[in-house]
Amino acid sequence: MNERQLLGLYEGILRCMLWEQGLMSMQAEGRISGFYHSGRGQEGVQVGAIAAMAPQDYLLYAHRGCGYMIARGMPMEVVYSDFLGMMEGSTRGIGAGIVHIAWPSLGILGQSGTLGGSFTIAVGAALSARIRKENKVVVCFFGDGTANRGTFHEAANAAGVWKLPIVWLCENNGWAVSTTFKESCAVSSIAERAAGYGMPGVVVDGQDSAAVHEATRVAIERARSGGGPTLIEALTCRFRGHYEGDAQEYRDRGELDRQRKDRDPVEIMAARIRSSVPNAEKELEAISERVKSEVAGAAEKAKSGTMPPRSRIYDYVYA
């Protein structure tokens, strides 16, 4: 991975982190209704993997923050507007909180609020691309807890037997709300399940965004060239509560502090850049300035949007 790419990943990660900070300010201001599941700690996975996607590919994201959409290039103010419930959001005011953001022009197909609903939808998107003879790969994100839903089995088996161009990307942060991965999964690694579906299973350090990028690149290439699906398990950390407001008293403080200190994807990427990129400090500084102002601009822009009229609730029930 060259310097520009590393800096690009850093910028992406920072963008996700700072965008989220901005969202939390809005939440503190009482502008946001509903729930938010912070992505803090997992930006490296989301940015690294999505950077490996081609423009025409499809994305099914998970609920852990909004790094997915931001990394994919959705206008940041649009994502804010979704949380603000404004007409300028992608859902034109319907979404807010755990939103159903979508952006078809970037292949962002939305999200199932019931976890695991996206697995089978990913299969459908891949089938559809094949039938329409378009060379698209589907990247489907999900949490370790979500991997225990039956839909995973049905979708992974179909993807395997039909050799569909899908990358299954598990963000294993070791937790599903208050339940540990260990107590809910019969094996020590989700990637071990890949063999049961005739696909490669890859474990990667999710805090190393470049490593995630590389693993995803290989999987996407394989998928695109007809080699079928891959299951990538990115080992990562959830820095904050399950949702904003969850004090996560069920977690060991010491371990959490260590994760925050040693496993922050921003710091890890910055350190890597410092050790390999000339002029690192200046570059990092410049990126930070740029992203901060972009994020602030997006927040300002979003806040000046308009709330939907009451009649909005009747729109788009049917086409």
Partner: protein, 332 residues
Amino acid sequence: MARAITYSEALTEALAEELDRDPTVFFMGEDIGYGGVFGFAHGLQKRFGAERVFNTPISETLIVGAGVGAAITGTRPVVELQFADFVAIAMDEIYNKAAKWRYMHGGQFSVPLVILAPEGAIGGAGPEHSQCPEALFWSAPGLYVLTPSSPADMKGLLKSAIRDPNPVLIMPHKALLNTSGEVPDGDHLVPLGQAAVCRAGSDVTVVAWSAMVPKALEAARQLKGEIDLEVVDPRGIRPFDFEAVLTSVRKTGRLVIAHEASVVGGPGAEVAAVVAEKAILHLEAPIRRIGAADIPIPQSSFLERWVIPQVDDIINAVRETSGKAVSAAKLA
């Protein structure tokens, strides 16, 4: 011109014509490659290739969920659940994904998905392979639900459903598969949400759908000369053509609703409730609902026939609502 074909043939014709017309239409489900357990796909894989007509594993959430994924990305999938009862297995995919994906994502997608799921009792298929689950979908905004009662409707509704930009659950009745009827030649389409007056009459309105339509018509025949039935087939429940029902009730003043699903919690409740709300002053007698008993369907066909509503049940209800019941034998 028209030809007499079976309901099942009409279904296959509709699929074939739409597969032929639109290269984004495809058909998948269990055993579909070979034609499917009810033969709906007979000959289609050979004609349209295994990329467009193909088998799935026994994975009902996949069948519907993948249908949604394919529908929001530019194809028009038709997917089959082998029995309508299996809607329960894919309920989240039908009720919460297919129906709501468009709305909850702000209108950015349409979901032109057709789910074919044969319903109804045919003697001995038991409590998990005999149900008519329409009632479950009255509360599914975003979804259309159709229940064709004749070969012509089977063909015309399925073709319209495939062309519609919305998800459509279409439940052919298994007991109708071998029934025959005239089907117009050419590109026969039946609009969604438009009731058919299958028989005009003046005394009592019978709203019946699916396999209850032939039974209602038979009741009308048997009552001829005594009570003149108007048989209205809404052709499904979403969208429901209340106007047609109300028009008929305003004329006859008496309403019997007949469906095969159980009366308790069945789809007729909404019909009865709306008619009672909107036409109460026209009603000359209480509305009568005919349907299955409030029990699971026994596996034994010997017992099943006592659960499923029959022609006599309609006749009795009609007589009661007309004040002409002598001592109608009632089930319970």
